[in-house]
């Protein structure tokens, strides 16, 4: 009898219930660095606008979020980045490089079109778009595309282009800071924007923080010269 069962099992004609793949359980939301400052953190906002100078840590702020979003094996799309994207950095952050697309459209119009297509296709988890001037109506379209495709859009803009208030769900202004980033939330849908705060990135990026100023040690007792 046992032989027969083994035979059938080897042939793959019967299977046991414990061999089946477990059903995917609703994913535990990955916590966010911004959770404690902004209601919902980065993950709850579909369209996030970031005003920042290049090179102060704006992508590093997003990397944990992008890696977490990528758990569903959808695509991560970078549209019109200002410089070449380094795969090693993404790989270090846990992003699956085979699921990365980088687009260099000819002009801003094509970039917006590409962003919309990627967002609404349902095959991308996040889109990073560098775009200088974008209008209210265009943002509304992108917002709809995000909802249609369950995707998140990060709109990166230089600080000079702050001109009008766009209908985004979260708008951040980043400034360089010795400990990481100084963040001013100018808009946060669903709540009052919190006061400007400093995001400490020392734990994630210890090498990219200024060395802490040496505190005077408590063990050293200053000697006062007796007068």
């Amino acid at each position: 009898m046992n032989n027969l069962l083994d035979h059938l099992k080897n042939k793959g004609w019967i299977w046991q219930a414990d061999f089946t793949r477990p059903l995917p359980i609703a994913k535990q939301p990955v916590p966010d660095d911004l959770d404690e400052y902004v209601r919902g953190g980065l993950k709850e906002h579909t369209l996030v606008e970031i005003h920042s100078q290049i090179g102060i840590g704006e992508i590093r702020l997003l990397l944990p979020r992008l890696a977490a979003n990528g758990q569903d094996h959808r695509l991560l799309v970078w549209i019109a980045p200002p410089h070449q994207i380094n795969g090693e950095c993404l790989h270090q952050a846990g992003v699956d490089l085979s699921r990365v697309l980088i687009l260099h459209p000819r002009d801003g119009k094509d970039a917006l079109w590409a962003a919309e297509q990627c967002l609404k296709s349902g095959t991308c988890h996040s889109v990073l778009l560098w775009h200088g001037d974008i209008e209210v109506a265009q943002v509304k379209r992108l917002q709809q595309a995000c909802q249609q495709g369950r995707a998140q859009l990060f709109l990166l803009r230089t600080r000079q282009s702050i001109s009008q208030s766009l209908p985004v769900s979260l708008s951040l202004q980043l400034e360089a800071h010795a400990e990481g980033l100084q963040i001013k939330v100018t808009k946060c849908r669903g709540s009052w924007p919190p006061a400007p705060f400093i995001l400490n990135m020392r734990q994630r990026w210890p090498k990219l923080c200024l060395p802490q100023p040496t505190q005077p040690s408590a063990n050293v007792i200053p000697l006062h010269r007796a007068s």
Binding site: I56, R60, H83, L97, I102, S121
Partner: protein
């Protein structure tokens, strides 16, 4: 299984292709070489014009007679179309030039459950074509042809009946040359019956081999080789426009028709097309070609249409277009797409469809993927590649902290920075003449930007990356 053949004769094929509706004038198709009327419409028949008349007598019978030259290639194209159309319901089809189709039907009968229902299916298929048809069954190809062309319109699988009908046919109705018929008439043979009753040996003694072969084939005792039709393996269709089009957006309408034909073609073969080649014939200049590609392969007209319309937006027409040709030479087998039922809705597209869409509008050289390479030189360790080139996950450790953005070309360092980490010496690449010898540092400038800078052996400083 006794062989059974069905012959379909199209006596007025060219006329039928030209006119779908009733013409108001009598029309004849004239064979110029023989100066003979070979096809005519009913109106011409009512005016007394008959097949075989010369142009002179036909023209004398009606002054508004419309004369069209006979073109065999037109009939051949039409015949191929009919064969393709009938291939949906019957398998063994052979052409009989210039205007007949021979079907081997004994194998089809068991599928359709008998001759009447088979004929019903075939007739349903033929009737929308609105063609003038003569048809008959036969136990041999020649027998079926003979009965069909002599207007029997007989559907039967009774061999005795078919044989009897054939034997009653006059010799003039057969494919035998006129001279031989006359010769036979002189010895008193006017019907096939008189030849078919003679044993083959006797026949061979008295008459030449051509007649013996014909009678043998007619009775089915001699083998009659037949080449059966195979549907074309590639899609190639030309559409002549009724009017000239000079705007590329209007071109989409006729293209839709081609695409829906393509969809049917691909669906029947369970294939996907990856590249469509369009050729637009222009009035005064060379044909314009347009290539539309889809990375994952596609068969649905709807999907192709959206890709084509993107391409058409960028197309400049200098001359009006009067014809469109669509050719598809590369087809791939359809692969099953695995979607996890429990993972919820997957969106309307898969990632290759999205890629085709992006490449169609932005161009193939604007869309990249990203891959790691086994190299210590930062210029080479990460590179742009064709999208989705490698699908396996690359799993090697990255040596140490690397910037997220790389500058290409490297920028000379012209500002005051404070070096915070480093040096990290990278000295490699001697094997391919791109050797580097650099000390890398992580630096921060006054604006708070984190830079990845290096110093060369001759103390030149450059910025290579940004820890963005």
């Amino acid at each position: 299984m006794t062989p059974l053949w069905l012959y379909l004769d199209f006596p007025s094929l060219q006329l039928d292709t030209l006119y779908q509706e009733q013409a108001s004038n009598p029309v004849i198709i004239l064979n110029k070489e023989h100066n003979q009327v070979i096809q005519l419409n009913t109106l011409a028949y009512h005016h007394g014009i008959r097949v075989g008349m010369g142009l002179g007598s036909a023209a004398a019978l009606h002054r508004d007679l419309q004369v069209i030259e006979y073109r065999q290639e037109l009939e051949a194209t039409k015949l191929a179309e009919i064969a393709q159309w009938l291939y949906f319901v019957t398998s063994d089809i052979a052409f009989w030039s210039p205007n007949g189709l021979l079907l081997r039907i004994q194998h089809m009968l068991s599928m359709y459950g008998g001759l009447p229902s088979y004929w019903q299916a075939l007739n349903d298929r033929l009737s929308p074509l609105k063609l003038n048809i003569g048809y008959a069954c036969g136990t041999s190809p020649l027998g079926a042809r003979l009965l069909a062309r002599s207007g029997h319109n007989l559907i039967s699988q009774d061999p005795e009946l078919l044989r009897e009908k054939v034997s009653l046919c006059a010799l003039e109705q057969t494919d035998l040359p006129q001279s031989m018929c006359e010769k036979l008439a002189r010895v008193g043979i006017r019907r096939l019956k008189e030849l078919m009753n003679v044993p083959p040996g006797e026949l061979a003694k008295r008459f030449d081999s051509q007649l013996v072969t014909y009678i043998g084939k007619l009775q089915g005792t001699f083998h009659h080789p037949v080449d059966f039709y195979h549907p074309p393996a590639v899609f190639n269709q030309y559409l002549e426009l009724m009017y000239e089009i000079d705007s590329s957006t209007i071109l989409l309408q006729p293209i839709k028709r081609l695409l829906s034909d393509l969809e049917r073609f691909l669906r029947l073969r369970d294939k996907l097309a990856t590249v469509l080649e369009f050729r637009f014939s222009q009035r005064d200049s060379d044909a314009l070609s347009l290539t539309v590609s889809s990375a994952q392969g596609e068969y649905q007209a709807q999907q192709w249409q959206s890709l084509v319309s993107l391409k058409l937006e960028n197309l400049e027409l200098d001359q009006p277009v009067y014809g469109i040709q669509l050719a598809v030479t590369h087809m791939i087998a359809k692969e099953a797409q695995v979607n996890d039922l429990f993972a919820g809705k997957q969106g309307q597209m898969n990632h290759r469809q999205l890629l085709s869409l992006l490449q169609a509008r932005l161009g193939t050289n604007a869309v990249f993927g990203l891959q790691l390479r086994d190299d210590f030189r930062p210029e080479y360790s990460s590179s742009y590649c064709r999208p989705f080139e490698r699908l396996e996950k690359q799993n090697w450790p990255v040596p140490t902290l690397r910037p997220s953005l790389l500058l290409a070309p490297h920028r000379p360092l012209n500002e005051k920075v404070s070096l915070l980490q480093g040096p990290e010496r990278i000295q490699t690449g001697w094997w391919d003449h791109q050797a580097i010898d650099r000390d890398y540092f992580i630096a921060r400038n006054i604006q708070g930007q984190w830079l990845w800078v290096y110093r060369t052996r001759d103390n030149q400083w450059y910025i290579q990356g940004l820890f963005s």
